[in-house]
């Protein structure tokens, strides 16, 4: 009944207490093999059926959503943890199958080294980087090893959401796939040399571009000490662990987005497992990100416009992933994170995680219920012409649409009001930062930047990012690109305010069209 050698329940002595349900004696799928694990409530699978189930689920996720077109470049976000390692293994397996059913995209892998934030010694960081490099080299895909310190070199354009024209593919998904298969067959008959040369050239260009990204060259030199210190100082200025985790996620996403854009990747796959998505869902509700649940926890996240973030591991529980990695020898590397060895109440993330895991023990359908409820939320696609006057303002950090329109009767309005009543009245400000001088508009961008206090960043942020900022003792250590972009947005908003009366609104232009020519 139980695998391997002798010694199993029921051989000599009976267990004192019957386990939850009865011990299944055969795999529920093939009815022949002996089961090695239980998924969901009582489904026992043998090893081979489990592998089929696992692999099929991944491909079904990609096939059902039909968002990765053949030949596209996809960046896999690899952290060394079990879920992302499993995802990389699935992509490897999917690409190695027979031609008709092969996955058809071109993967690359990115690893972000966050050792400075987690206070690892340089020797330890070096060790982990070398292990990662060995794993990444073994996959055979082009890879990018970046350090979190590189956020200090990012341009302000990373915070722009570049609209993505859906007409790039010029047709439906099915047509694209058929076209690709025809092209592949044509290439096969024409000779393999052309396609392999093309692939090699593509690979070379990726490697070259990854080296040109600027110091440090990935995998060869450690990051400059000044940047490491700046990063340590930034996270030292954050008071609570919750805010630290949010800030870390924000910076990591910006970095991954930047690498994806500069290297020509149109999709990024994140390794969030179903359990993690459920924890994230409830955590985000507690953090005030309820308006963005669909973007933060759904399968696809299109807030950045041109680069789509996907979560293909969303349907797997952490248990399934751990068993898969164990049975099929998927290499993983342990890296301590911000919340390693912290008590249960150290941060909201930890609290929700321990709550959900404990609930899952007694009620095994908890995480799947939470995930499924989250799936019902969807993002409304923006219909307005992006770049036009009706462009929705986005949060500076998380790039989601701002939800801080404090209309009468909203909870935000009451929160803001109670905050104002609790604080002492501020001294009258000397002007609106660099655009305060109405006389000298041309000089507004050349004047020295105003002192960076939170009151200038707050209007540009969504509610939960505002809470993160409020937990910081000083905003000076934030990377330069955030400050630059904040200035740019403030200047634009001030300018728009000034010329507001001259702008034609949508209704005015429609009304004007109806008027006869005079």
């Amino acid at each position: 009944m139980c695998e391997a050698e002798e010694g199993g329940c029921g051989n000599e002595t009976q267990p004192k207490r019957a386990p939850r349900g009865s011990c299944p004696s055969k795999c529920m799928k093939c009815k022949e093999g002996s089961p090695v694990l239980i998924i969901r409530v009582g489904d026992a699978f043998c090893k081979s059926c489990f592998k089929d189930y696992f692999v099929h689920k991944f491909r079904a996720m990609l096939g059902k959503n039909r968002c990765i077109y053949p030949g596209e470049k996809v960046l896999l976000a690899f952290s060394g943890g079990p879920a992302s390692s499993s995802m990389v293994r699935q992509v490897q397996e999917g690409l190695s199958r027979e031609a008709a059913k092969k996955l058809r995209f071109k993967p690359g892998i990115i690893y972000v080294d966050e050792g400075a934030v987690c206070r690892q010694s340089p020797g330890k960081r070096e060790e982990i980087r070398s292990q990662m490099e060995m794993i990444l080299q073994a996959t055979g895909f082009p890879y990018h090893l970046v350090c979190l310190e590189e956020v200090f070199d990012l341009p302000g354009s990373v915070l722009h959401s570049i609209p993505h024209s859906a007409t790039d593919h010029g047709g439906s998904y099915k047509e694209a796939v058929d076209g690709f298969i025809r092209w592949q067959q044509h290439e096969k008959t024409a000779g393999d040399s052309a396609s392999s040369l093309e692939n090699q050239l593509a690979r070379l260009s990726v490697h070259r571009s990854s080296q040109q990204e600027g110091p440090p060259v990935p995998g060869t030199r450690p990051p400059p000490v000044a940047h490491t210190e700046a990063l340590t100082k930034l996270f030292g200025a954050v008071k609570t662990l919750t805010a630290k985790e949010e800030l870390l996620q924000t910076l990591r996403n910006h970095l991954i987005l930047h690498v994806a854009r500069t290297s020509g990747y149109s999709k990024v796959m994140m390794g969030d497992s179903g359990t993690r998505v459920a924890v994230k869902l409830l955590t985000n509700l507690c953090l005030g990100r309820g308006a963005f649940l669909a973007a933060d926890t759904g399968f696809s996240d299109s807030r950045h416009g041109d680069v789509l973030f996907l979560r293909p591991m969303r349907e797997y529980t952490a248990k399934e992933i751990a068993f898969y990695n164990c049975f099929f020898e998927v290499p993983t590397v342990f890296t301590p994170a911000l919340d390693t060895k912290t008590p249960d109440r150290a941060s909201i993330h930890r609290l929700i995680e321990s709550f959900l895991y404990r609930l899952q023990c007694d009620f095994p359908s908890t995480t799947s219920t939470v995930c499924r409820t989250g799936e019902k939320l969807c993002v409304t696609s923006p219909e307005a012409d992006p770049g036009g006057p009706t462009e929705t303002p986005q949060c500076l950090f998380c790039l989601c649409a701002l939800d801080t329109n404090a209309v009468d009767g909203s909870s935000l309005q009451s929160t803001v009001l109670s905050e104002q009543l609790c604080q002492k009245p501020l001294p009258p400000s000397t002007g609106n930062g660099c655009c305060g001088g109405a006389s000298n508009q041309t000089g507004c961008c050349r004047a020295p930047l105003a002192p960076r206090d939170s009151s200038q960043l707050l209007p540009l942020l969504c509610y939960s990012c505002r809470l993160t900022i409020k937990d910081m003792s000083s905003l000076e250590p934030l990377p330069a690109y955030i400050h630059l972009e904040a200035e740019r947005r403030r200047c634009r908003a001030a300018m728009k305010q000034e010329i507001q009366e001259f702008l034609l609104e949508e209704e005015d232009s429609d009304a004007a069209e109806g008027l006869p020519l005079s």
């Binding site: 139980c2 010694g7 207490r17 939850r20 089961p35 020898e329 290499p331 993983t332 390693t340 895991y357």
Partner: protein
């Protein structure tokens, strides 16, 4: 009568020099041994196709201070009146192997939620969980799902 248990904190048979822990003796200092064994195991287990294990399948969150990470330990449990089951094994581990923060591994009677237990390569839920009676040469593997992503 003593029961011997291979307690694998990583399911990799290729580790050199699994060292033996006899209950009652203080364990050797973890850092030096762990690092060398870790590196040694890594060198031996890497193959060209990269499909081999890079050791990290053991318990993660607390492993660096509480227990030695990614090691196979052959453990000899002291004899006692009744047979050993997993419940008693956890109690024994808490007293003898966990150096600090036992609450990160053991919670109440059982392991902390989020830590998986494999007995002889199979889910412990199939074996009766805490009531499974340990046999000689059994393989018990603990995997944490709490960490990583």
């Amino acid at each position: 009568m003593k029961d011997s248990i291979y307690m694998c904190l990583r399911e990799n048979e290729r580790v050199k020099n699994p060292f033996f822990v006899v209950a009652g003796q203080p364990p050797p200092p973890p850092e030096a041994d762990a690092a060398s064994r870790f590196r040694c195991g890594q060198r031996r287990s890497l193959t060209k196709d990269g499909g081999a294990l890079v050791p990290a399948a053991g318990v993660r969150r607390w492993s660096r201070a509480l227990v030695w990470r990614d090691q196979k330990q052959r453990v000899t449990l002291p004899s006692q009146e009744g047979p050993w089951d997993v419940r008693k094994l956890l109690v024994w581990m808490k007293e003898n192997l966990l150096k600090e923060r036992p609450e990160l591994f053991v919670q109440g009677d059982s392991v902390r939620p989020g830590i998986l237990v494999l007995i002889n390569g199979a889910d412990w839920e199939l074996m009766g969980e805490l009531d499974y009676l340990l046999q000689d040469q059994d393989n018990v593997v603990f995997i944490s799902t709490l960490h990583g992503g």
